[in-house]
């Protein structure tokens, strides 16, 4: 892939006036994702930060057609759109379902697993901001261990984050990829590729959230970079079962200079009650997962 900002589609699909928070990682990722998917795309979204971003009726800053649906039903809604378009003999439209980690990891997992098992022709995008941020930063099963949320306000979250990409991989999808708004070209390239593939494609956007993670709004990009530098987030793609590191994670894998997770954790207020024991567990979890990925990349 040509690592060049000038190749990016110049058309804007999000006009000024979005209702997203200042410093929102999702908004940035969404902007590049829509640029990569271009025209002839339809979206379906649940109640979410993304729904808020889309604004209040009758005004929206997003120029891509979008159907709102209920929290548990995003992937089923995409199934319906795909089936409806097939029934209407419209075959050239890219169907995209996009939801946060709450409605992907938790309530929407049934519909998503069903749609993926049926190899429904759509792209599912999970923007993972590690909690129910739209409703006031409550814990989800994507929240990392050791984080304070409004429903783990004193003791921090006790359980490890669910490895959702592995669950999706078990569906034997033609394409899966992880992305970060801090690496827009990597993200852009992956969506361009995903658009060309048929069947269920799963895209993960790791989306820093200033109000939920408690960092300064100017640091969104930096936090996303630190996540990758420490190996908390690993940029990769899996095409027809073949694992491949991409972007910054690829150079880290080749040169092996990951930063310790404390560099990432210490920059965010949500980890201020994290114990040393939790920190060590997190480091061990990251190391072990990284070793697995290295094994996969080599084989």
């Amino acid at each position: 892939m040509q690592n060049n900002i000038f190749k990016i589609n110049e058309t804007e699909y999000i006009l000024p006036g979005s209702r997203a928070c200042q410093g929102c990682g999702l908004t940035l990722a969404y902007r590049y994702m829509l640029k990569a998917l271009r025209e002839n795309t339809v979206l379906t979204i649940p109640a979410s930060c993304l729904c808020v971003l889309h604004g209040l009726y009758p005004i929206t800053p997003v120029t891509v057609p979008c159907l709102n649906t209920t929290f548990a039903s995003t992937a089923a809604s995409a199934s319906g759109i795909a089936a409806g378009l097939a029934a209407m003999n419209k075959s050239d439209i890219t169907v995209v379902a996009m939801a946060g980690d709450g409605s992907t990891y938790d309530m929407g997992i049934q519909a998503l697993s069903g749609a993926a098992e049926r190899n429904t022709d759509f792209i599912y995008v999970c923007y993972d901001n590690e909690g129910y941020m739209n409703t006031g930063t409550q814990r989800s099963s994507a929240t990392p261990m050791g984080a304070l949320t409004s429903t783990t306000p004193i003791l921090t979250k006790e359980h490890t984050k669910k490895d959702f990409v592995r669950i999706m991989e078990a569906h034997e999808l033609p394409y899966l990829a992880t992305t970060s708004p801090s690496y827009p070209i990597d993200l852009y390239d992956k969506f361009v590729k995903a658009k060309r593939i048929k069947g269920t494609r799963y895209m993960h956007i790791y989306s820093p959230c200033p109000p939920g993670w408690l960092f300064n709004t100017k640091d969104t990009i930096r936090i996303g970079q630190l996540a990758v530098e420490t190996g908390i987030v690993v940029l990769f793609e899996i095409e027809d079962g073949k694992f491949r590191f991409t972007g910054r994670s690829k150079t880290l894998a080749e040169r092996g200079k990951r930063q310790p997770v404390v560099n990432y954790v210490s920059r965010q207020g949500r980890f201020r009650r994290m114990s040393i024991e939790q920190l060590n567990r997190l480091q061990a979890w990251v190391d072990s997962r990284w070793a697995d990925y290295l094994d996969r990349a080599e084989s």
Partner: protein, 407 residues
Amino acid sequence: MADVRILTGNEAAAMGVKLCRPGVVAAYPITPQSQLAEILSRYVEGGEMRAEYVRVEGEHSALTVCISASTVGARTFTATSSNGLLYMHEQLHWAAGSRLPVVMCVVNRGVGAPWSIFNDQQDSLAQRDTGWIQFYCRNNQEIIDTLIQAYRIAESLYIPVMVCYDGFVLSHTMMPVDIPDGDMVRGFLPPYKAHTILSPEAPRTINSVLFPWRRPDPEGVLRDGYMEMRYKLEAAMKKALPAIQEANDDFARIFGRDHGGLIWTYRSEGAELLFSGIGSIANEATVAADLLRDEGIPAGVLGVRVYRPFPRQRVIEATQGARAVMVLQKGTSYGYEGCLTSDFKASLYESTLRVPVVDVVAGLGGRDVKAREIADAGKRAWKELEEGKLKTHSLWLNCYTGEDDAE
């Protein structure tokens, strides 16, 4: 020449769906609906029906698929029963709020707990307030005919429609059914045109968040708030009353079968004791009315075919002359009375009629209700009425309540 076949209710429903030619079918199996989902999949795989059949992983998704497919312009169908319908509940509101003409068969079955696979109507009665039109069928002929009418009504008003019929009592019982001619159905049912199409050609965000008040669009035109949109659904429901009657009358003219439109009556002339009910229990009451007439008791039946929108005016008209009404229903509103009873009484309040109404809860979880038992209950009520001491508290028919011992 008429094409008459001996069919179960589910087979009749499947034939009806095929005649209406939906573009998308989504269904999840549940007893006693399963046979309908199976037949439709056979139609699609065998090439008898051109539709996208989405074999979803649950009922919530089944209705979601119909909602979203309907939004891109496809005619849709789903079917369920009992807990499957309860699982759809959230999406029932969403379909009606989106003003999408999804048509669904509800094969009525009792709801858990405890488990029952047998028939009652608690499942769909409990969905009364979701904004769907509800039809209740008496026999298998009415199922196929009502489905065809349902699509026309749904698509002209943009309101989803449930076609309800009793599990096993109709779904698994064979009856002769006259299959309507495909070309005539096409003439009766024009193609579906979506009111708002999700399409790249005219991008818009559909069903986004609304604030309580009306808001201007970028051109300064005030657009509906949530409440205006909901009022439009209510206004469309009001229009549904004449629209349902018109579809029924048109159908009767073209196909030669009249199911009554909103209500139907049986031996109602001079009827002083009126049974009312929905679905097959009301049909059973016609036999009870015959038995009572044989014994000199002037009984008749007022069948409610459409439960929502409720045909208040028609109910009032059909109740003129009655000295007592017994409302039979296979379901109840716990802590009060059967909801058909409540609606019946509320309708009479709009008139000058002051008729005692007896609430009869019967046939829950498939408990058998024979015409003779309805007739016996009617005879007791008639005797009490003649003696001037009619009891109108809820009667749980054929149910051991322990009250007999206490007396």
